[in-house]
Symmetry: C2
Subunit: 225 residues, 2 copies
């Protein structure tokens, strides 16, 4: 079950970057907090230069924001920011689904169907639920299936870590399991039918549903204050 990218750290900056990204996404480094180069360099036992480079890369992912001569801060998570993110996902992953319907090979589509049915078995036998990992795997395959290198890079290296950060920190593990699963099935069917228009429409609706689901959840959370 090899699936998504094993980006392996070759350089010291890579390690720092991956570690910081993990800590930021999982909230170990708080959202909105300041990133002190000195502090981090002592914490990770590396030079400031590698911390700087790591911070620069985190900025490319939109995980931190930098101001010249002032410093870098982890992005702050706002409901509006999350909605903006899902609008972008809708546009890009909709296009990815359209392209996947055109460019995925027959065997890739078969593998994708196989993934869904294995996930179906897991859910049915209640050995596990249809959780985030499965959802991610599904979306990754379609993104890769688009065969559009720029699009892939944008989503995999850029947006998805941000999305994960929101999910983890705002507690969006949530249900929406069986419905999401059905939506996935319909999307795959459109792809295997080589119907780009429908694949795009279904993917966009799928992401819209997620977005709405999250929006209501956010609203109810906010009222608990």
């Amino acid at each position: 079950m090899m699936s998504f990218f094993d980006e392996q750290a070759v350089t010291s900056s890579d390690k720092a970057f991956f570690r910081m990204r993990k800590e930021i996404v999982e909230g170990e480094i708080a959202a909105g907090s300041k990133l002190s180069e000195m502090e981090l360099s002592t914490k990770y036992e590396v030079s400031r230069a590698v911390v700087r480079e790591a911070i620069n890369r985190l900025e490319s992912c939109h995980l931190v924001e930098r101001k010249a001569n002032v410093g870098a801060r982890v992005v702050t998570l706002t409901p509006e920011g999350l909605m903006e993110l899902y609008q972008i996902r809708e546009a890009l992953e909709g296009m990815a689904a359209r392209l996947a319907a055109q460019h995925m090979t027959d065997t890739e589509i078969q593998d994708l169907e196989g993934l869904l049915s294995s996930q179906f078995d897991e859910v049915k036998n209640q050995h596990s639920y249809y959780q985030e990992a499965g959802d991610l795997d599904f979306h990754y395959r379609i993104i890769l299936g688009s065969k559009n290198a720029s699009l892939i890079s944008m989503l995999v290296n850029g947006l998805y870590h941000l999305v994960r950060m929101y999910r983890v920190q705002l507690g969006m593990a949530g249900p929406r399991v069986t419905t999401a699963f059905d939506e996935h099935k319909h999307i795959v069917r459109a792809i295997s039918n080589r119907d780009p228009e429908l694949a795009e429409i279904l993917m966009r609706r799928h992401i819209q549903y997620s977005k709405n689901n999250i929006a209501t959840k956010l609203a109810s959370n906010q009222s608990h204050f």
Copy 2:
């Protein structure tokens, strides 16, 4: 006629970054060529550190590609790459138009209509043609009108320089002036009618037309070998 972002260089890396970006986009630094840190640092009379940081930022824009312990190269321009770029533009700017129809203020829409009519006068009186600058300005305003900060950053800081690089180096100044102008008019009308669906559809078709136009041009160029 103040319009798009005056990003002003505050630090030395900023200057290096802007300069290198300009030289890459305009082909002064050839596509596909290697970027030697040492060489550039002597050329710009700055330390290697600032060149490194500039290169990192260029990588964020997808203008250069880096491999660890090997170096950075300017991206190579391929017809496929350009088509991929336009697919992403179609998705993102389509969404931008949709959001602009929802979020632009009435005065912003009026300004946009004003821009179009002034451009119309220029074209009609043949004092100038409807060239790239005008087209860029139009697209910029709609992108900004989306009010989606992440989307704006992605397009303005990321994609547009790449698009410009392709346009400049593959000589896509081209005609398509009056038709593009009409398309712009229809898009603005949809926005002023607060019709997000139509605005998105028209923007996507507008970009598809550009893409097809460029594709045929590329094909004819390629046959000249």
